[in-house]
Amino acid sequence: MHGRLKVKSTEEQIEAKKKEREKKLLLYNGAMSKIFLKKQNGELDQEMLLLSGEVLVVNPDVYTLWNFRKETFLELSTCLPGEQLQRLYQSELYFLEACLKKNPKSYGSWHHRCFVMDHMPDPDWKRELELCNQFLQLDERNFHCWDYRRFVVHSAKIPPEEEFEFSLRLINNNFSNYSSWHYRSKLLPILFPDATQPMGVSEDALLKEYELVQNGFFTDPDDQSNWFYHRWLMGRGNQTLNINCFYVSREDNCVLVSFTKHIQIGKKTDLILECNEQTMPGTVWLNPNKTSQSSCLWISFYNVFVWCNAQIVRQISIRIIKIIIIIIIIMFICSKRFCNDLNWQYRADNLTFPKDCDLKVTLVQGSLELCSSSLHLGENDSSLSGSSVISMDKSIFSQEMSPLKKDTLLQAMESVLQLMEMESDNKWTVLTVVLLMKALDPDSYFDQIMCYLDKLEDLDGKRIHYYKDLRSKFIIENIFAGTELTNASAITLSGRSLTKMYHTELLPLVTSLDLCDNLLRDVHEFNLLQNVKVLNLANNKLENCEGLQHLPKLERLLLNGNNLTKSSDLLQLTTCAKLNFLDISNNPLSCQEEEIQTITALLPNVSICFKQQ
């Protein structure tokens, strides 16, 4: 189906081709019916190999015929002596080689070769590696062959050092070889492990790779293989799991725990809440969407039943409490499917936490403690937060860069700047400089980074929105790095041409967020803003409210001057119980009488501004 040019041919040519195809068709149909008949009769013999071979060499994608051959081989191996069987398998390898030469990208042929090698009495793995070398010489990007090579390397226990050398040979031959760079990214952690490094690769090895790839992009600055690998080398790997913020509110009777990574509480992982070293029973953790799917924010809920009866429960003996808890658990399991619909609110009830207490949350997996956070809630504290990460570590924002030492980064930047001078229109050099500056000192390079991002938008118009989102991310990170997010109740990010909001996971405590006069297209993950009361999203480019659901404290929401076109775009707001003011003036929907009526009915307790006064 690929790469078949449509050619204009003469009547004669068409006629000749038709005749030839008719002949082929006859042969094909004849062979196929014979094969299927034999299969039906259970004749799994050498003739089956012969007949199916005739079809497969022309059309190796007829997977059923490869299956028939496998069945035949399994059948024959029960009756043929070892030597003969070995010869038969050997000839199958020759046959496969012929098929692969005609069609080197057939899944069926390559998988059948694995089958043969796994089943033949005396497989010659060295020869297979040689075959891979041959095929990769013909096409160094053939991923079927690369996958087969990995199979051979694994089965023949070829040392990774040799494979590392092999990939180097290919790269020295041609830097533009994404497959080889990819292979090296898999071999490095095996050959040069270093658990202390974020990517699990020793710094020395990374530096050597860095030199190699630098040769690559100096040789061919337009080849993206080098640049993708380079960006990976400069990366910091994965973020480690920790607690971003642990928040307890007496007035709301709730606990919020925000993590640096997404987790799922329930199956294997559990979040344990302790009060004065006693585990608090009946705690149910849900994410802001009120489900138990993965999230970086988890909120404690107590079963409604416990709440209503908390006072009575206290007077009843422990034994009954235990029974009740069991009932509650059963009730919870039964009611789980309704969680989405039930708009549970935090209960205003001050029975949960004692007057003065030590609170601790611990994330556990089996008996393993993954991370924990604790705080002391005094009698007069209405709410309190303890955080381990948020305000302390600016480097959480440079997580994409880099474990390497600062002077290495500086050196890297110098050489890329040098290249940029020679190749002033090369976007890869500009982007790399931006990323290096961000890693080195995002604050003092800020203006330069913004200039280079402008340049990238000019140089690479196709990906203009990628650069705009990247810019938004950098701006937000710079502001957040300079803010004490634990204490900040109001955050202003208005009028900064932001096209995308990042890091709402760091704002579970913010009560007022001003994002007006930006270019936001969506509000995904805004429901991590569990304490937000006032949200100003006026004059953006929003087309729906997906992400604004279940904001328990949201009172004022400004959505004027966006691209909301229909009442159903506001559906999520029905789950924000405290919402009392909504501005949706200057949206396409706000001049349609029908939509206005629907919205008024949808949000009966909200005072809605449809037209600007």
Binding site: D61, F143, S225, F228, Y466, L470
Partner: protein, 330 residues
């Protein structure tokens, strides 16, 4: 000594508008030439081919042009004793043809006419201890099969029958240094594989495993100066990738990172004005596979003359709205 970027040039006389009706005609006539060399030689893809053709017709609003009962009868004849479906009558069952079969039956609201318990049991039997899926009993492992298995079960409303956690774990183990995915652990990234993995994670509700900015960057760098998208770095553009890359970008919320107008131009240029249908590149031979992905791509890019397509299952959105399938999007 820089190598020039691999790309094509769109001929100036290439089509610039959507030939909607021609495509419907192309698909219908393709299905009528059952004795054609071309048709016979692609028998190993029949079930997939029917899904491509029928979905194309559904997207242009002409599903009624095919004979419903004839199609369903064929699909039923392809269900084997084990529960799986083969590509054609007499062939062996495979996950690839099984997903197409279930998709066809869903298009026709006829899932109940097959033994769904048997399908589910068979799919379950293909899951391995590491979470991966065999394509059939012969043991080939590929993240494409993880997608097929999960998509089938989601369409049947039986996703909880397999070990979803393990299935997710395997797919995540196929993630690479560039944030994209390959066939198996260690395999190089490929857009087709990215689509399967991202689609699978969407159905499983585990898209948080994806680094959307990193993967999105790799995906949007698939766009070449001609506007077309390739499947891997330094490869030629192709209409089918306009689907795989685009759908993946849509699922991870980064569709706006490519130049939509240029891509629309490229896809339209791959139409055949004489016969209808789309080819992989301008001037090549058309086929039902690229026809579906051309139309579906245009739909994702906002062409409203084509019906809205679901980015995870590549089926008409209005049809899936009626189902209870949960799709996660970033």
């Amino acid at each position: 000594m820089g190598t020039s970027v691999k790309d094509i040039v769109i001929p100036s006389n290439a089509p610039k508008s959507l030939l909607l009706l021609k495509h419907a005609d192309y698909i219908v006539s393709y299905g009528e030439k059952k004795d054609d060399y071309e048709y016979v030689m692609t028998e190993y893809l029949r079930m997939n081919g029917m899904y491509w053709g029928l979905t194309s017709l559904a997207l242009v609003g002409h599903l009624d042009k095919m004979n419903r009962s004839e199609v369903i009868e064929f699909v039923l004849k392809c269900q084997q004793d084990c529960g799986g479906f083969s590509c054609s009558i007499g062939h062996d069952p495979h996950l690839l043809s099984t997903l197409s079969a279930i998709q066809i039956l869903t298009l026709y609201d006829a899932v109940e006419s097959v033994n769904t318990d048997a399908v589910v049991r068979w799919i379950k039997s293909l899951q391995q201890t590491d979470g991966s899926f065999y394509g059939d009993k012969w043991g080939e492992v590929d993240t494409r099969f993880s997608f097929c298995a999960v998509a089938c079960l989601a369409l049947l409303g039986r996703l909880d029958e397999i070990n979803v956690d393990k299935a997710v774990e395997f797919v995540v183990s196929c993630m690479n240094f560039d944030g994209a995915f390959g066939c198996r652990p260690g395999s190089e990234s490929h857009s087709g594989q990215v689509y399967c993995c991202v689609g699978m994670l969407s159905l499983a509700g585990r898209l948080h495993h994806v680094n959307a900015d990193q993967l999105g960057w790799w995906l949007c760098e698939r766009q070449l100066p001609s506007g077309g998208l390739n499947g891997r770095p330094e490869k030629l553009p192709d209409v089918c990738y306009s689907w795989w890359v685009l759908a993946s970008l849509k699922i991870i919320g980064r569709l706006h990172w490519i130049d939509k107008n240029k891509l629309v131009e490229f896809i339209l240029a791959c139409q055949d004005e004489e016969t209808g249908g789309f080819a992989d590149r301008p001037g090549d031979m058309v086929d039902p596979f690229h026809t579906l992905f051309g139309l579906a791509g245009l739909s994702l890019l906002g062409d409203t003359t084509v019906k809205a397509v679901n980015p995870v299952l590549c089926m008409p959105e209005e049809l899936l709205k009626k189902s209870k399938i949960q799709f996660q999007y970033l």
